[in-house]
Amino acid sequence: MLLCCMISSLVVTAQTKHTGKVIGSDDKQPVVGASVRIKGTNTGAVTDVNGEFNLSLSSGNVLVVSYLTYQTKEVTVQGDQYITISLEPANTTLNEVVVTGYQTQRKKDISGAVATVDVTAAKVIPTSSAESLLQGQAAGVTVVESGAPGMGANVFVRGISNFGNSSPLYVVDGVQQGDMRDVNPNDIESISVLKDAGATAIYGVGGGNGVVVITTKKGKQGKTRFTYDAYYGTQRPLGGNPYGVLSSDNFAKLLYQIQPANPLLNGGPQFFDYGYQAGTNVPNSPKGVANAGDPNVDPAKYVLDPNNSANDYQIQKFVKGAGTDWFHALFKPAPMQSHTVSASGANDKNNYYFSLNYLNQQGTLIDTYYKRYQARINSNFSITSGIRVGENLSVYYTESPQGGAGVGGANIPGGNQSEGNSVSYSYRMQPEIPVYDIKGNYGGTWAGLTQLGNAVNPVATQNQQKQDFSRNWVIDGSTYGEIDFLKHFTVKSMVGVNITNYFYNNTGDNPYYSGEGHAIDNNFNTGAGYYSNYNWTNTLQYNQIFGKHSIKAFAGFEAKDALSRTMSAQVNKLFSLDPAYVSIDNGDVKSVIAHGGPGQEYSTLSFFGRLDYIYNDRYILGATIRRDGYSAFFPGRQWGTFPSLSLAWRMSQEDFFKGISWLQDLKLRGSYGTSGFNQNVGGGNAYSSFAPNFGGASYAINGAINSAIGGFYAKQIGNKKTTWETDKIANVGIDASLFNHLDVTAEWFTKTNSNLLDVIVLPATVGGASAPVVNAAEIQNKGVEFSATYHGKIGSDVGFSAGANITSYKNKVTKIASASGYEDKNFQRQNDALARAQVGHPLGEFYGYEVTGYWNTQAEIDAANANAAAKSGKAGTQYQNGNNSGGESLGDFRYRDINGDGVITDADRTFIGNPNPKFTYGINLSATYKGFDIATVLYGSYGGKIYNYTKYWYDFGDTFAGNKSNDLLFNSWTPSNPNAATPKAAAVGSFGTSGSVNSWYVENGSFLKMRSLTLGYTFAANMLKSVGVDKLHIYVQGVNLFTATKYKGLDPELQAVDSNGLGTDIGAYPNNEKRFIFGVNLSF
């Protein structure tokens, strides 16, 4: 093929040799492959890799210079021997340089599915986690955010690919890493998302979940530029009564209705005035409820002994009337701010970009925050012609209140909280319980009786975090050297690192305000860890253009290595929790528990290559191959090969399209290939192993009461056959540029992920060791993506642009290895799992009984029971008693008899809702008028279902003592209210009420959010010049001004509980709180 390429070149008749160069007026870079033709002749040339051409010309010749993404220009030849022709860009994005795997390509030359994120539009949303920038900005990317400060987002490229880690691979300035949370949005130059195998296969065994490629800024030619970008704003908690829970008086009414003997009640639908409880050192340890005047609640008796809860005598006054608004005791307005200053510049040879960032997002959930201090230095130097070196370095420090294990990050109680966390406690705390007791200490479930429940005062829990912290020091960066040689070759070697050092301190008070825990000793725990990974990447690149043939090829070698170390320790019974005092040494030495050790080291070796061949600027071929070896698999299963092939045809270059003036570009693309994924397996998976474990494998064999002898237990069953996940992706795409203003891309894909890594549950008879991760299942995602952007102008003053993208995928489990043919996932407090992974159904689909209504009349019950008796042949059989579940009664849910056997049994469970949205979409609109600009970002999700598990806690009279819903009091089933929101209000539950996983919990999770609305003003340049300012832009912004949804919980945007718990609300930190921001962008 090379030979063939060399032959073809335009031949010209000699007059005077002229040399010229074509550059773009926008970036001053050479335009490669531009056509330079002498007007009125067939004589011409195509510019080479340096943008240069040679032609024999006569003075007065008119050159017609055309290149797809630039406006065609005519130049009359004068006497100059060297002509520089500067082309004005056409209004299209085809020339955009897009960063793809290990290289950059012009958008028009790309044959794979690569989405670019409009960073300018994306970064307007104030966020402490940069993954959020992707939301609604790229077709094919689904992003689920959390409102919790510093909490990363769930990002899925083309659906959920597997049972474990479904995150894409992030490549920041060439360094492969697990997230992009702490990249300062102001530092980002570009983000591209690689979606199909044509684009991701170059990342081999790491690319299966898609790849997000981020590049940070470089200095631009010209004088030194300083910028200051800042915003300050306030975040507002959700108003009203977001969970719809009862006031104190109404709660008493409900209790009186369903449980008249409840000892909290003072003879009627009202509470006693006080609750009290004494520790074991107080004679008889009295506890109970009493009215004012009762000697038991004499304030003189009050004792709170922080060092010995046995001496406590606590008294709290119940709140009547509206009661305590726990939600708003927990969620308060909170500020958020970010400041970035940068300096950048460049000359012909060198460039630099330097920035400092301070971010501080306080959470609306009290005492939560995320702070980051960050510096970035990017610099590039041309040492001599053809030799370049450079580095990208980001060093940052983060701080948040709650630490925890987990490499490199604060374990912020974010996304979806469990029943033991503050958001859930906001409805699990009863309204008559005061935040503070009669002496200003915390009130809680401690005083009085069991009927107060076992929730823990969440204000106390949060306040206690004031002195907790997690601190992380992180170095992310890379350095490279690059040499051009033999004209067409470049060799590059890069070392990238990510190094994290963290430590955290957590203190725990004696939770005297907790019903169950008020004798727990205070405690302190601390931990530290180190994590590092590096990748060393070497590539050899070859670029050459022969006439109509453009060849780009590269080959690479890469080595990656990651390791971690952790240490943590915990101690009880400290004399004081003063931050200056707490240390492991200062507690009860006998209670010290320490953990730690080396983490598994993982290494990857890779060889890869890519060829891009373009013929005549219209036929494009891309081929990649990568061979990866990964250490976590057993020798023999370590190496995998990942090829891909992509083809594109720029139809608009063909003659038959030439006449169509409104069509600037039309490209048809197709690709097929494989990539892999290897993250869902641990390094010891291939090996059966044993370990000591002081809790789980030691025994007081000598009969001692305070010591045990250590032993070993079988910890892990090994599987030597386990290997990587394989993703096969077929993709067809169309890119079009129309009317000079409109860019449209549509994609169709099928992605089959086979050999998915998962632990398959084994029968108990194999023993208690952890089952190995095996290649267990296959999932298929099929989808369609569409995006369009339009940039327009009306007159000279009004500019506007509109962008929209839509992502739709269908997820289906196509194989599962377990003996039963399904795996139950997502266990909550209800007996059964909420979701079942089963062949033919999407991952995460809810599974349970289908509720068809309530039992409204005894006649209905009798008829169903008669039918049950008839069908089963056993007299007395009840319809809803197939599993001995107690039968049905009026006001219970009526379940559908799926198998028609007349009785409800486990076999009548069915699939009751798919949490995967049918599609998600983003819309960006912006307009400018003179100095003013207005922009909005909308994001929506349609068709996903939510299992609103929070209702289990407040919509039933029998579930844990806690606050209950207005629905339960005012809109529960009664004979006269058959279309009720909840089953009958009763103190006792049954299989027909709170006792089953069923479709009643399933709600429509569709939503549309106005993520931001920004109004800005740019001051006129001439006004600013006198003060030395180039640009000054100020703006006000509203975030989450509205969320349109039918979902009854706080926010339908729900992070996964775990990788299998999609769309499940177990008390999530909402992400639809309004924020009001004032910001400024200044450069000088």
Binding site: N284, E601, A691, T765, G767
Partner: protein, 624 residues
């Protein structure tokens, strides 16, 4: 700057690349922080694996499914709550699956059963790990004699775990040391009972175990013999059990060499439930527990973590509340001092159900077996050294669990610091060092009595029962009043805390002054009476210790027991009928409870295990 010659550098770069190719070891990253069978192939490794196999005797392990209270070998839920000893307790919504077990409406998907099944098989395989490792030891560190003993201990442990499975489900798979993941033979079916296999393991263990051990917690020959006898009792092979029980009674010693204590002169009934006096002369096989040992409470008596009053010694969680019927069983005839075998449940002993903690209350004044107040915490009576049990404020939810609280697993206030610990950071002082008496000597005596009734001498049987009753009659072992009620740590008087009385069956001298009742002898009253008396004695001697359900199952005729088919159903439905009619005790759970003859004698096999073995495991009768 010196000008580089790129032609020099490029080959250099290539050389570096080439060098990288040769890093063959780069992908060699064996697992860190763990051991393998090669490292363990020596005596210390085998010893460690054996300790690991022992450590599961409490029923809990690292990474288990469910919680410790679902899997404990004290079997509080399966042996006692599912029978007539106790209610689940706490509130109705708390541990719902346990409530379903209590009410005999547990399905094969019940959240307690699968963890229990898994925990016991985890124990089986830990014992198998020892047996698999032994042959790999080639370094000479394990002598043939030692290997023999280790094998015996491992086989005993395997039998222990298989036994617990057999009690709950009867038809269970049996996994020996050939069953491994690599062999692919782990999906084992359950064609029927595995008593023969359990017996074979125990026979082998008994043959090779020494009579005494250097460590108190290690199994000895007699413990294996006692378990073998127990297996024969479950297998209804009385003739095989008889000589074993006789040998135990005549010659048995604990692992530390103490003679099983005929006459119980050196220790009291209550010493069996006190961490400081465990492993005493009655401890045939005691499951060890320890606290403040660095395990964050994990090595305590795990099964009973929730089983404390919700105030007093602990602050949580109010489970395992003795039933009204169980309390009534301690009523004795005012004249004979013998239990009211047929009429005990005709009326309830006075209790404080529905009476506020602040309201006046005088406890029952009728005659009671003194063991009641070591078995039940009841209002007005000293609760160890914690003070007078105050009633309602200690019961988590009287309306659901009744007025009584558990006591056998509780520690003394004076010893709280050394015998209790917070369990995994959240259950304060609820991890305790009390040992669980898997088999204590009273068990042996009462089995011997049963055997004698069935195939031997009623007189002999009566003697064994009276030996147990004689210990109960020892007034020094009764609960006494405090010197000062306000200072429970200040010691006790010699005044009994309630109106206690113990009588003997037939003419019996006794050593502790119980009442002799010549007309109430076993021979005089006949075999049926004798059976009833022995069964009743087991109930009050061993109540709240996780045995009752399995005793009833053993006596029921469904699997060959002497009491005929339907015995268990009659007993337990009668119990339910009593409980639901107690005034002021609306327990809705028990209202819907019904013991189904032919089904409820066994628990449903976890549906997950049936599907995971592709149906190789068959469900027990009556369940789906």
């Amino acid at each position: 700057m010196k000008k580089f010659n790129s032609k020099l550098i490029i080959p250099g770069a290539m050389a570096v690349l080439a060098l990288s190719y040769s890093c063959k070891d780069y992908l060699n990253r064996t697992p860190v922080g763990s051991l393998n069978t090669i490292i363990l192939a020596n005596k210390a490794g085998v010893d460690g694996l054996l300790i690991g196999a022992y450590s599961l005797l409490d029923g809990t392990y690292s990474g288990q499914q469910g919680n410790t209270w679902m899997t404990g070998t004290d079997n509080w839920i399966y042996g006692s709550v599912a029978a007539d000893d106790a209610h689940k307790g706490s509130t109705p919504d708390d541990q719902g699956p346990a409530g379903d077990i209590e009410a005999y409406i547990a399905t094969s998907g019940n959240g307690y059963l699968d963890p229990k099944w898994r925990a016991m098989f985890a124990g089986v395989q830990r014992a198998n790990d020892v047996l698999r490792e032994l042959p790999l030891v080639k370094d000479g560190s394990v002598s043939a004699a030692y290997a023999k003993e280790v094998t015996a201990e491992a086989r005993f442990l395997r039998a222990f775990y298989q036994f617990d499975l057999a009690k709950l489900w009867r038809n269970v798979p049996y996994a020996d040391e050939t069953v491994t993941y690599d062999n692919g033979n782990f999906a084992i079916g359950n064609p029927g009972p595995v008593w023969d296999k359990i017996e074979a393991d125990l026979i082998a263990a008994m043959a090779d175990l020494p009579a005494t051990q250097a460590e108190k917690g290690r199994v000895n020959k007699y413990a294996a013999e006692a378990f073998l006898a127990k297996a024969y009792m479950f297998d209804h092979q009385y003739a095989k059990a008889q000589p074993l029980l006789a040998d135990l009674i005549n010659n048995g010693v604990t692992s530390s060499g103490a003679r099983y204590e005929t006459g119980f002169v050196k220790h009291h009934f209550a010493d069996n439930f006190n961490a400081l006096t465990k492993n005493n002369q009655e401890g045939v096989f005691v499951i060890q527990a320890s606290v403040h040992d660095g395990s964050n409470g994990d090595n305590g008596a795990s099964g009973g973590t929730l089983n404390f009053p919700s105030a007093g010694p602990a602050t949580c969680c109010g489970f395992f509340q003795p039933s009204f019927s169980f309390a009534n069983a301690f009523k004795v005839d005012a004249t004979t001092g013998l239990p009211l075998l047929d009429t005990y449940n005709d009326s309830d002993i006075k209790n404080d159900q529905g009476i506020g903690a602040g309201d006046a209350f005088t406890p029952y004044t009728g005659t009671l077996d003194p063991r009641i107040d070591w078995s039940i915490g009841r209002r007005g009576i000293p609760y160890l050294d914690w003070g007078i049990m105050p009633g309602q404020s200690w019961a988590r939810d009287q309306l659901d669990g009744g007025p009584y609280v558990p006591i056998k697993n509780t520690y003394y206030q004076a010893a709280q610091a050394s015998t209790s610990e917070t369990y995994e950071g959240w259950a304060p002082n609820q991890s305790v060092a009390n040992g669980y008496n898997a088999i204590r000597y009273a068990d042996v005596l009462l089995w011997a009595a049963e055997v004698e009734i069935e195939i031997g001498s009623l007189d002999k049987a009566q003697g064994y029962v009276n030996e147990v009753r004689d210990r109960a009659a020892d007034q020094t072992g009764w609960v006494h009043t405090y010197i000062d009620n306000a200072k429970p740590l200040g010691g006790f008087t010699n005044t009994p805390a309630a109106n206690y009385k113990v009588g003997y069956y037939g003419a019996y001298a006794g050593t502790n002054g119980g009442t002799s009742n010549p007309t109430m002898g076993f021979t005089a009253q006949g075999k049926d009476f004798a059976r009833k008396a022995v069964q009743f004695e087991r109930r009050i001697e061993l109540g709240m210790e996780g045995h009752r359900f399995f005793d009833l199952q053993r006596w029921d005729g469904r699997f060959g027991g002497p009491m005929g088919a339907g015995f268990m159903a009659t007993q337990l439905n009668g119990y339910l009928n009593h409980e639901i009619h107690v005034p002021g005790f609306p327990s809705d759970l028990l209202n819907k409870a019904h013991f189904v003859q032919g089904r409820s004698e066994l628990f449903p096999i976890p549906i997950s295990q049936i599907s995971l073995t592709n149906g190789a495991i068959k469900q027990n009768e009556g369940y789906n």
